[in-house]
Subunit: 182 residues, 2 copies
Amino acid sequence: MQESQSARRNASLRILAAARAIAAREGVAHISFEAVAREAGLSKGGVLYNFPTKRDLMAALLKEMLAEHDALEAGLPQDAQHRTLRRHLASLNGLDTADSDLSMSILAVAAAEPDLLDPLRRALEADLARIEAEATDANLGRLIFFALQGLRFHALLSLPGGEPAPRRQLGETIMEMIENAH
Amino acid sequence: MQESQSARRNASLRILAAARAIAAREGVAHISFEAVAREAGLSKGGVLYNFPTKRDLMAALLKEMLAEHDALEAGLPQDAQHRTLRRHLASLNGLDTADSDLSMSILAVAAAEPDLLDPLRRALEADLARIEAEATDANLGRLIFFALQGLRFHALLSLPGGEPAPRRQLGETIMEMIENAH
DNA sequence: TCATCTATACCGACCGGATGGTACAGTCTT
DNA sequence: AAGACTGTACCATCCGGTCGGTATAGATGA
């Protein structure tokens, strides 16, 4: 194990990964310092050293998720129309491979400390504005945006329509609507 | 207060109302037996007599919410087209007056015990099927359904676009789309 | 070069509070 | 009196957070 540098210094990434793993396996409610420590292979004190409060841990989790979502835009063709909508669509389609359970933590976080969602609120606010600006029909743009969000939540909560197959099907419908509206 | 029958015999309704009040005031995470008992004006033992486990309490809360949602259909004109979609729209518009925080409990419940959402899953599954059957364009019906759901979740989590004003605005757009598609 | 000092990263025992749940005694209604 | 219902005391557990301590790596200085 090449821990000469990485493990010695800063176990934060390992801790976040451990938290995600626990969320995926046992549910977000089971993210506790002890559990995370066990999963990450260090002590509770070590986790608390990196994230002094649970709030900090959850905030870091959320930040990581938003960053991954934003990173998707890089994979889009430079000249694509409706970039923001496309990014959301891509993010939605990537829900299988990526751990959807991390997103799930948003919900748990929201229940406990609503203001932790502020970064997410700002990001979505900007996205919504961009979508309206990019759209030929602002109303249609909004409609599609919320449909994507609805689809996302259904996927997170295992509600009908959120399974990969129907999700992708509606995704294609939406893609056609996007491309036909120039 | 006419407690001669209702309160004396079966405090369940009072308990559920208390739980909703707590959720609205302090958040879903603060629904505990003791807190509910205090709010409902009885003892913890009393609450536990009516709802032997927390799971039972949460399930009852969810059931109550679903019933209220279904009840909205009665207020719709007999001959209305797209009844199911209209009901969802009505439910969404009623989010302000009704306690949205009850719906919020869905999220917390889902985090703790996902299978409690099964009744909701069945209800939404049926709704989705009905919507597709009622729609002239099944794809459009689905799209609108998920947009409504997205809007609902945004409202629950105080995410952008979920505020009453923009919510109602998009609602009207949707209403027009529904009425123009015959 | 070697002793000392300092900062970083981590360990693990412990505390206090909250919570779900139990036990059981009492009360009210019929 | 019996059963439905309520109140009180209590328990076990979990969890977030504190705290004193350890290990190590580099800087400092004579």
